[in-house]
Amino acid sequence: MKNQKRRDFLKTAGLLTAASCLPLNLVELAFADDSKNFTFAYISDAHIQQIKGNKFVRNWDRGLSRAVAETNLLNPKPDFVVFGGDLAQLGKKAELDHGADILAKLDYKTYQVMGEHDYYLDLGEYWSEIFGKQYYSFNHKGVHFIVLNSILTFDEWTFNRWGTAEQRMNEMAGLDNPNGSPFMVGEKQRQWLKKDLEKVSKKTPVVVFSHSPIQKIYKGWNFWTDDAEEVQRLLKPFDDVTVVYGHVHQIQYNQIGNISFNAVMATAWPWPYPKSYSQNKAYVPKLTVPMNRANPFHERDATGWQLIDINSGRVDLRYSLTNNSNRTVAYNPLTGQPEDKDFQEKTKQVPPQEHY
């Protein structure tokens, strides 16, 4: 049974590889009952950036367009696509419209996650106009999916500190800007989440999509959600919980209690690991084997997509990387944590994995 699943899975992965490697993330959910298996794709962090008028930064456009084209070639077809936030760079209507136009070419139902770059110009107003609710849940083939808007922050920062909406957007857009403010889900949404989860059996696999990590990695770059512990507490009673997040533009994975954490790649550009900033003590979850940065001269270096496979309710990710060796980060039921299939052991890591 298990072998059969693996063969099927490899077949899927093979097809995907044949379709070449692009910045999107395909998710496969595999249950003991094969009829419940399904896949979905995950595209994130496109950062569509307007230069002026109808001119946009070519590099970021191409990252997203390529992901969309590739997703449409997937066989078997994914059940749906998730876009993980930061469709725009500075929250402009022109950027959201242009990004939505590119995403509209997807042949699948698409779920949207809010990113801070989409939000802080008009506090999500235009985004909601085109995409709808900023947080919601849905059920799909036995899995309860939750989408959170995790990039909110203190009211004082949002409403009282900045002279103009543009300034507020610019201050939040700078990842390393000391004038920024920590992300949070917030009390109102946590109340909603609590109520939403009351209806869900503890045995139902729960998958959460958020833009920021619902864990604390590095505050200086907002690899961080301020009320992460409170959200984790609400998810604790469930047997199988996975949080899939964007924002960090890099491979990260972690296990906290019953919750597995997996980050997805950006279609736009990769970010350094916090530890590469030498002036701060910054940590990446100990488990994470860093992504490779073999050739920064290549436009799509360290961008990619994931194929995610849920075994008994746990998500495994296959990162298919345009310009780097593919990676598989899979939940290991023996150790109870996600691990890289090939590179987890120090001795098996290759020089650029040191991320010099």
């Binding site: 950036q49 700078g174 350094p272 916090p274 590469s276 900033y277 002036q279 701060n280 001269f297 991320h355």
Partner: protein, 136 residues
């Protein structure tokens, strides 16, 4: 008598020269150091300004967009063999590569104040890290 006076005068003058010489050669004050540090930090600040500026290139893409806190620039490894260019280059060559490619702009003159400021900022963010020229 007059000879004695002149000897004393010469001695005093000599001592004076020695004292002045000591002060000139290797003494400076905390105030001096503070001023020099401030001068340096003002150039670092200018570099930071350029680093986050959307106007350095032509498409609005700032250095900081990909390199928060100038991370992943590893200035301590330059000069090094840049395999994509096939030769040994300095950090400033890479800065210009980024300006011309992801930022789709014009290169800076290698000895321009802007280039010095950017280098000052990048190396300041990496202070304390051992030099490892040539490392990959």
């Amino acid at each position: 008598m007059s000879q004695k006076i002149s000897i004393s005068a010469i001695t005093i003058i000599l001592i004076g020269i020695v004292v002045v010489a000591v002060l000139q050669a290797d003494e400076f004050t905390e105030k001096d150091q503070q001023r020099w540090q401030n001068e340096y930090m003002s150039v670092v600040a200018k570099g930071r300004e350029l680093w986050v500026s959307p106007d350095l290139g032509s498409n609005g893409v700032a250095c900081a967009q990909c390199h928060p806190n100038a991370a992943n620039t590893h200035p301590e490894t330059y000069p090094k063999f840049q395999q994509q260019l096939g030769r040994v280059i300095a950090l400033r060559d890479m800065i210009n590569w980024c300006l011309m490619n992801p930022s789709e702009g014009e290169p800076l003159a290698l000895d321009s104040r802007e280039m010095v400021a950017i280098e000052a900022y990048v190396t300041y963010e990496r202070r304390g890290v051992s030099l490892e020229p040539g490392k990959h």
